[in-house]
């Protein structure tokens, strides 16, 4: 699950998985700007088949913050 999450984020940002870990935050990676953030959220939603409420999206500060939304 965590590995897949990192891979999905990497794919959304168009970079290698190796550059990321669960603590990686927007700003740590050049492509993860405000537009990149929207793409990361969209790709995570699509790949895991979940919907993250718009109110909570600003609270996602690092990759691990997605985990509570992904279910089991």
């Amino acid at each position: 699950m965590e590995q897949k999450l990192i891979a999905v984020v990497a794919s959304a940002l168009g970079g290698p998985t190796s550059a990321l870990n669960l603590e990686t935050a927007p700003g740590d990676v050049e492509a993860w700007d405000s537009l990149g953030h929207i793409n990361v959220v969209s790709e995570v939603e699509a790949e895991f088949g979940v919907s993250i409420p718009i109110e909570n999206i600003a609270d996602i500060q690092r990759i691990s913050d997605f985990l509570p939304y992904l279910g089991k």
Binding site: I38, N39, I54
Partner: protein, 551 residues
Amino acid sequence: MKCAVLSNVNVESLARRIERHEVHVAQGYGAWTQELANPASETWAFGPSAVFLIVDGAELFRGQRGLDPALAEIDGHLAWIERAAERSRDIKFFLSTLDVPARSPRALKHGHPERQLEQHWLAGISRASANHANVYVLDLKALVEDVGRAQLYSSKRWYLGGLRFSVLGEKLIAKELQRVLDAQVGARKKCLLLDLDNTLWGGVIGEDGLQGIQLSETGEGARYKDFQRRIRQLGEMGVILGIVSKNNEGDVFEVFDRHEQMVLKKEDFAILKIDWSPKPESIAAVARDLEIGIDSLVFIDDSPVEREAVRAALPEVTVPEFPADTCELSAFLEQVYKDCFFTLESTEEDRKRTGSYLANARRTAERSAAESLDDFLAALRTKISLGKLRDDDVQRAAQLTQKTNQLNLTTRRYTEQQVQAFRTTPGMAVSIASVADKYGDNGKVFLGIVRKLSADTAELDTFLMSCRVMGRFIEDQILDHLVNELRADGLSRLRVHFVPTRKNAPARSFVERLAGGQVVSEDESGGKTWEFDIAHGSPVTKPPYAELLTR
């Protein structure tokens, strides 16, 4: 190349998905007409060769009250677009068609202004395209129709960042733009080579016959006729068409000349390679004859074995996967068009091209692709499972004698009762073999009937193999094995008959590559009997490569 994307919504994320080209996105996405109108704008300073206008219908009419002001707004935008196209004739403009979702709940009687707006826009950009050689219509509305709004748009991305399209939508649109850009730097293929059996028609002409193949205006055979229509359209757009098929030329010409449902005619093809040589050799010969690069060829064949053979021997050839479900043939060809032959416009010259290649086709000696063929055969991991006929094989054995026309030495047809009787006739041995390879099991495809004529001599009453696995020297290896068995039984001579028919040219080439035979009889119709001394060797010269198991 350099391109600019202008839009009335945020297309920054979309633009990032375009590869291999330099993309400029105008800052401030509400200002797309101003960008167009102002010759000093950043967009023009960037110096694009192509400008894409991606117009979002919902955004275009946001806040509009009533149809007439909306139509007037469209006219205003169109005027600016035409002016820009007029001013910059060396820049290509790609204008998107419009999708306008219904904005408000309304009674049915109230009409459908969205459709009118879409129509008005389409009429306007079509007129611009007709009036200006550098203006093209990019049909994004078609994408909306194919994919659906729920998939193509995303309200969350809209509210978060003014991004109208979903990730999927952006990817699909970026692919369209990518294709348009790539087409201008010229990576277009030139020639489409097609297999025949189970590709241009259903079934195998050599076995099913003229009336047996599937090809019709309606019903199941229509999927092949529709496929042929699409292929002909490609030909009309300047794609050179060719045939590469393992078949008897006579059978194929009969289909072209006599099958009423054939859409494609012989004249539609610049080249017809119809023989029994390995397809990589034929394809290499096509490139030489037509004097075009191997890398400008696209090859379509239903057989995974042939596709793999071509990919292995000629990696420069584009070999698309054939659809598993032949109902998808037309959609498949549409994709092949987009991936390989997409073009912004087709000129009169393009349309004449097949004809000129036909005239120029030059026959040259065929280079042997034997080395790559051996490698390819080894990589197939062919397994032959050979055994004496069992009770439950009888039905298939009779069917093989009835249906096999091509690799069949004697073409003797037997009923199940006759085959059953052979099993218990002293001096007769019936063998059957199935063949599997890395692509799967081809089933029972070989049948051999050996009859003892005397204490030291046997004959091949029947030796046949289904065309499914032809061209892989499996028959050579099986005959070699049967010869070894006969020798172990104390036999020293084997008689092999060849009875020519209209369809068994493959059987002729098989007997002709056997070595050391003495002709013992010959008749006027071309029938021949050879006798081979098998006491000290085998008539088979091709070295075995498959794994042969006996049961």
